[in-house]
């Protein structure tokens, strides 16, 4: 399987603190990869390095687009990374609270549209057409995610689970081929988690989007991920299928402490 994302020997220092140390990671085309690890293991830092929020101290990140173009993306600006085809959600929900659900998704379409100030003022045919496309695309995504009924509600008035799904919808609107989900199931009840699980699989199967997700809910991690990568103290300590990871004594020790005898 060809890789979509390849992270090589990535190191990230914050002053004297080494948050990530020579981490290697690969996400194959159409794969669901889960990134797990105890709190403070560096999972979100890795996400931030990939999406351009942090510039890694050392190491390389390269992205292979579906057309086969390979680009290095370490240190590239955040919005450029999104344009290249990586979309993400946030651990602590970061929607635009005072915009409607539909508008939130429409923001995701921003980087795929071109209308400028002049187009906005003159509202020529091309701009109108583009706006219509944005609205219709966004609405179609809401239908897919199951939020079309709340399209006109303000994002802040949505229930928690729906807000998480809206974040995914917004990310999908940027037309990514790689989706990074930062704890998508956090704070969800079991039913919502089941729905989310189905949604993630559906995104992979129907849209052909590869997925890298950080998740603490082991049920969802074990059931849908093709591969699991375990981080601890900024280092990759294990990688493999769900069954292998479950048995791995190093992983168990990282989670449960030094004294635990498996």
């Amino acid at each position: 399987m060809d890789s979509v994302l390849t992270v090589e020997k990535l190191t990230m220092d914050f002053g004297g603190l080494r948050a990530l140390s020579t981490v290697d990671l690969r996400v194959g085309h159409g794969e669901i990869v889960a990134l797990i690890g105890p709190n403070g293991a560096g999972k979100t830092t890795l996400f931030n390095c990939i999406t351009g929020i942090h510039r890694p101290t050392r190491g390389g990140i390269s992205l292979a687009s579906p057309e086969g173009k390979i680009r290095r993306i370490e240190g590239v600006k955040i919005h450029r990374v999104t344009e290249m085809g990586i979309a993400r959600t946030f651990q602590n929900i970061r929607l635009f609270p005072d915009m409607t659900v539909l508008e939130n998704v429409m923001i995701g379409r921003h980087c795929r549209a071109t209308a400028g100030v002049l187009g906005a003022v003159l509202r020529d045919r091309r701009t109108r057409q583009e706006e219509e496309e944005i609205v219709e695309n966004s609405h179609a995504i809401l239908v897919k995610i199951g939020l079309a009924g709340q399209a006109d509600d303000l994002a802040k008035n949505l229930p928690y689970g729906a807000q998480r799904r809206l974040e995914i919808a917004r990310a999908l609107a940027t037309d990514p081929f790689l989706l990074l989900l930062d704890e998508p199931a956090a704070g969800m009840n079991p039913r919502e988690t089941d729905e989310l699980e189905a949604l993630i699989v559906r995104i992979r199967d129907e849209e052909g989007i590869s997925i890298l997700m950080i998740e603490h809910d082991m049920r969802i991690v074990m059931s849908i991920s093709d591969r699991i990568v375990v981080l601890d103290h900024g280092e990759k300590i294990a990688e493999g299928t769900a069954a292998r990871i479950r048995e791995n004594p190093v992983v168990i020790r990282a989670y449960l402490g030094e004294d635990f005898n498996a």
Partner: protein, 441 residues
């Protein structure tokens, strides 16, 4: 029991106020007779007033709290019933395109207007009446009144311009007056040295303001919130100090006089005619501003600005070029200030740095905040309220700043979103929208 505690609370508040105002309200030193007057009567008045007002204050606060309650976030993942209500009200969509933007009042706290104003039956007659009033105004009222109105209209344009920066993009700009000054001085100086006319100076002034905005914006827009506010505040002061002290360039505090009024195809106008002409010019500029700003707000660019205001990091992660969006907002805001400045110079025919103090920036910002951030109608109301009321309430001129302060405090406590809440666009999907299953997953 509850009323007793309420009384107790009010009593202590009254007591506190009596104590607080004791030195200024009660004691008066009479330097001529060298005696101290004790005006106990004032203390009693403060006590009674404080006691009664505290009840009103609490009642209003309670009402505000209650107004908030009916919109708690629902916990069930089922679609909320709101949608039903909304699809029931108002115009139907336009079939095929399935896309009809309709302005709907923000369903936040206190939705006073049930249906959107644009859909109400009063909308067209109100618009017609307003148009008639605007057209007839300079012929019915004196040129003094027309002059005041023109000033108010300049502030409407300035408010709408600042609204792009502060209301939409959420960049707190405390030095907006600097761009206004750039516009005014570019007309005055270009006219003085090169004899440039008003109509040439208008776009030139706007462009120069835009240029200054770019020069300031590039290094500064990476700053956030408070830091940006401080830097823009400094910028406003720098521009004013340069104008005040660089005599060779700007003629210093004595200013520039004899700036010509705008011409009308070379016809010489009497002062009254010129006033009326300027008034209609300002009306035209206002309409143009409203048109441009509302189109910008409802566009891809405007959405990006609002998103930027809401969450910068998420905005960038969604592929929006933060620097570019900020700079566009900053520059577009400056363009309106520049045009306002040119017109201001032409209207007063004399400018000096005293017209461009920080107080002016604060006033324009107050217009935006009081009117309602991001709302065009609100900013227009705000401008008229803040600029016209001091003119018509000359009798209270000694208390102007006191009233201004009180209004601001009361507004921010009871209606922080401004007079008019900004409107969120709603898109309707008639054909496709209905069949959506709420949860397919």
């Amino acid at each position: 029991m509850k009323t007793l505690s309420e009384f107790k609370k009010s009593f202590f508040i009254a007591l506190w106020f009596m104590l607080l105002t004791f030195p200024i309200m009660v004691i008066r030193v009479n330097p001529i007779e060298k005696v101290i007057e004790w005006r106990w009567w004032n203390m009693a008045l403060v006590g009674i007033g404080g006691f009664l007002l505290s009840f009103v204050w609490r009642a209003l606060l309670n009402r505000k709290e209650r107004g908030r309650k009916p919109a708690p976030p629902t916990i069930s993942p089922e679609p909320s019933p709101c949608r039903e209500e909304r699809t029931g009200a108002g115009a139907s969509g336009t079939g095929n395109e399935g896309l009809k933007p309709v302005a709907v009042k923000n369903p936040g706290p206190r939705a006073i207007v049930g249906q959107p104003f644009e859909e109400s039956r009063l909308y067209r007659p109100a618009l017609a009446a307003a148009a008639l009033f605007i057209l007839a105004f300079p012929f019915v009222f004196s040129s003094y009144q027309t002059n005041i109105m023109t000033t108010a209209l300049i502030y409407v344009v300035l408010g709408l311009g600042l609204n792009i920066v502060v209301g939409l993009a959420g960049l707190l700009n405390l030095g907006y007056v600097a761009f206004y000054a750039v516009g005014a001085y570019s007309y005055a100086l270009l006219n003085h040295h090169f004899g440039l006319g008003f109509w040439t100076a208008l776009p030139v002034g706007a462009l120069l303001s835009a240029l200054f905005a770019i020069l300031l914006g590039f290094p500064v827009l990476r700053l956030r919130g408070d830091y940006l506010a401080i830097v823009t505040l400094g910028f406003g002061e720098i521009i004013r100090l340069i104008l005040e002290n660089w005599n060779a360039f700007s003629f210093g505090p004595s200013g520039i006089s004899n700036i010509p009024r705008p011409g009308l195809f070379g016809i010489a106008l009497s002062i009254h005619a010129a006033t009326v002409y300027l008034y209609f010019l300002m009306i035209a500029l206002c309409l143009f501003t409203i048109f441009v700003v509302s189109r910008l707000r409802d566009s891809r660019i405007g959405r990006a600005w609002i998103a930027l205001r809401e969450d910068e990091v998420a905005c960038e992660a969604m592929g929006i070029d933060k620097t570019r969006a900020k700079l566009t907002a900053f520059v577009l805001g400056a363009i309106w200030a520049g045009m306002g400045g040119v017109i201001f110079a032409a209207k007063t025919t004399f400018i000096n740095p005293a017209s461009f103090t920080f107080l002016e920036s604060a006033m324009i910002l107050s217009i935006v905040v009081l009117g309602g951030m991001g709302s065009i109608l609100g900013v227009i109301f705000g401008a008229f309220l803040l600029i016209l009321s001091p003119e018509y309430l000359r009798a209270f001129s000694a208390y102007r700043m006191l009233l201004f302060g009180t209004t601001m405090v009361v507004m921010m406590v009871f209606r922080p979103q401004g007079i008019v809440t900004s409107v969120r666009r709603v898109y309707r999907f008639t054909a496709k929208g209905k069949g959506d299953a709420p949860a397919q997953a």
